[in-house]
Symmetry: C2
Subunit: 379 residues, 2 copies
């Protein structure tokens, strides 16, 4: 029987690639829910092709437009209330959360509370609310399958292994487009340069996060929660070729790594097919074609976001939520050319100093913290 999937963020980079995987394996996957934000044209095409039971678009206006246009029997809803309704009403076996930024947190919590396994591409859910998300997942016996290439790599490396034997996680980082530049050169870099990722084709938010290396900082925090490992046992290694997607070291010193060409369709497919693997027609890795893999240390002076993320997680409580929300807003400001490259990390650092971290117990607690960030952040 086909696995029913609910795809949140269907018109983004992960969303469209997820649908490519579904196209490759039509007998195995059935799309029951599609949710998008603003790209109503693409969502309409997707509805016509995949004929989901429910589709959600960001605004009421677009919802009315869609209703008028589509010919399928799909129910059309809108906004986060629509996503919530679809999650609780839907019959999905797997929710793929490919929403961008901190807005992914609510749907992650809702999907878990609805008892649905999650393929999680939205790392911000775990960074902001890791403690809440993991305790909910535990309570509702839900499996969180990472979609991020690094965390998918680690998840794959840990298959068949005992978690007690895990000593260290080695996250690889491409280093982004500014890897070889000095601090003063980086300072001059704008949106155009930051959007040129050397290896991965991704959405603009994560591409900017890669340039600042905040992405790797968020991934460290994500790994802490997903793999129940201490922050100090996670190492980041710069690996410009993006062939080794991450590694784990066991307490016998044996290291297991997952490798492949940089193609998000591999971790997406693994998350969809887990616990199985499915054959596909994607290109295979040939190490004799690539010839050389290199490794460098990270530099937190040139890439302060990496340091800020670690500091936020060390402080814990609501601090990672502040980091995530502030970063979301500042990436947008950078994309709109309102701030420069280091303006982003400077603003986050100032805001972290202002914030008084406290324990949180619910999604509402975190939404309150996000509201504080919105009202306080200045740049």
């Amino acid at each position: 029987m086909a696995k029913k999937i609910e795809l949140l963020g269907s018109t983004g980079s992960i969303g469209t690639q997820t649908l490519e995987i579904v196209r490759m394996h039509q007998e195995r996957f059935e799309v029951s829910v599609l949710a998008a934000g603003e790209n109503v044209g693409l969502l309409e095409k997707q509805i016509n092709e995949f004929k989901p039971k429910i589709a959600i678009i960001g605004s009421k206006e677009d919802c009315d437009r869609l209703k008028a246009n589509i010919t399928t029997s799909t129910r059309i809803l809108y906004g986060f209330e629509g996503i919530k309704e679809a999650i609780y009403d839907g019959e999905a076996d797997l929710v793929i959360n490919a929403l961008v930024g901190s807005r992914g947190l609510g749907p992650t919590c809702q999907a878990i509370e609805a008892g649905k396994n999650i393929a999680l591409a939205n790392k911000e859910s775990l960074v902001s609310g890791g403690q809440l998300v993991m305790s909910l997942a535990d309570k509702h016996n839900v499996t969180i399958i990472p979609v991020d290439s690094e965390h998918s790599a680690i998840f794959q490396c840990l298959q068949g292994e005992k978690s007690l034997a895990l000593k260290k996680i080695i996250l690889t980082a491409s280093g982004g487009p500014f890897r070889k530049m000095t601090k003063s050169q980086i300072e001059e870099m704008g949106v155009k340069e930051a959007l040129k990722h050397p290896n991965w084709s991704m959405g603009s938010k994560i591409t900017i996060d890669s340039a600042t290396m905040m992405n790797k900082g968020l991934e460290i925090i994500e790994a802490v929660w997903l793999f129940n490992i201490a922050l100090e046992n996670i190492e980041v290694v710069v690996h410009p070729q993006s062939i080794i997607h991450s590694m784990v070291e066991f307490h016998d010193t044996s290291v297991i790594a997952q490798l492949g060409l940089p193609d998000m369709k591999v971790p997406i497919q693994f998350a969809l097919s887990y616990p199985n693997r499915l054959p596909n027609n994607l290109a295979s890795l040939s190490l004799t074609d690539i010839c050389t893999l290199t490794f460098e240390k990270t530099d937190e002076d040139r890439f302060p976001c990496l340091r800020l993320a670690k500091e936020a997680q060390k402080i814990g409580k609501t601090m990672p939520c502040v980091l995530t929300k502030a970063n979301d807003m500042l990436v947008e400001a950078f994309l709109n050319e309102k701030i420069g490259f280091y303006g982003l990390s400077d603003s986050i650092e100032r805001l972290m100093h202002k914030h008084n971290p406290c324990e949180y117990h619910s999604l509402d607690d975190l939404l309150e913290v996000e509201a504080w960030v919105e009202s306080t952040l200045c740049f």
Copy 2:
């Protein structure tokens, strides 16, 4: 309760490193049998330290000498009959077969028939008699855990994975000491040069096999049997740093690799502790210290043993047994400076042309083939 081990080849490179592991984890492992060939002095020390129930030395003469010297209650036997008796009488949970060359085949078969799991460092057992060994293992429900670093790597990569998903095995090879030389340069190389392995500290037989790359040829055949994979789905990649010990590719294009510093104690310990991993104080890999990993294609013109091994396995039947036994004898001839580097592969090729391969059904069938090699091989 401690795992009782029976160590065949206790005074060799793998044997002494196995005992180092036992020393590190004295509460977990108990040595019940030690077997050695000629190094009676070292065996005596090992008997005094590990107090096995049974010890075996090669000759009756050395056996008498040992009996006179030791103060423990260890029973002293000799020769292959002694090993056989110890295997059938002993109470071991695991037999570690670290014998050198084709002489390992008999004890491998006997251990399986006695229903004992095997940690197999003697690849020649599988190369010569893979079909027999694997069908016996199946019949007696015995697990064969590879000790070879490459096969241990593959075995580790396959943990928790479904064998149906396996598409390809990528065996890494250091390339040996003559990797960068031309054919005419290699032709001039003698024993001294061939014994200088760039990365691994090993016994002389396997070090010469690494220089000729016959070792990699034998490993291809070993992998065919251990992992039930077609010859054409095994690729050899030259990786001079010996950090990635081997890899598997699954049918979703995901590649899993095992990495570490080149230290045989890691795969030895894994074979001993399997299905668990044990902490140890061995040095950890640091990729930022190593900086660069490189990969090259193999060259069967300069290293014809690689081609001969594949041809022998393609022909199948008794041909790989001929290859193994001839190689054993010719490595000894090379070590004794009776033949040159390419004399070894030339002799094997001539012998393979002379041999009329036939089906085999028992250890005796294979011993007969080995006797034919002994009487026919000329160099």
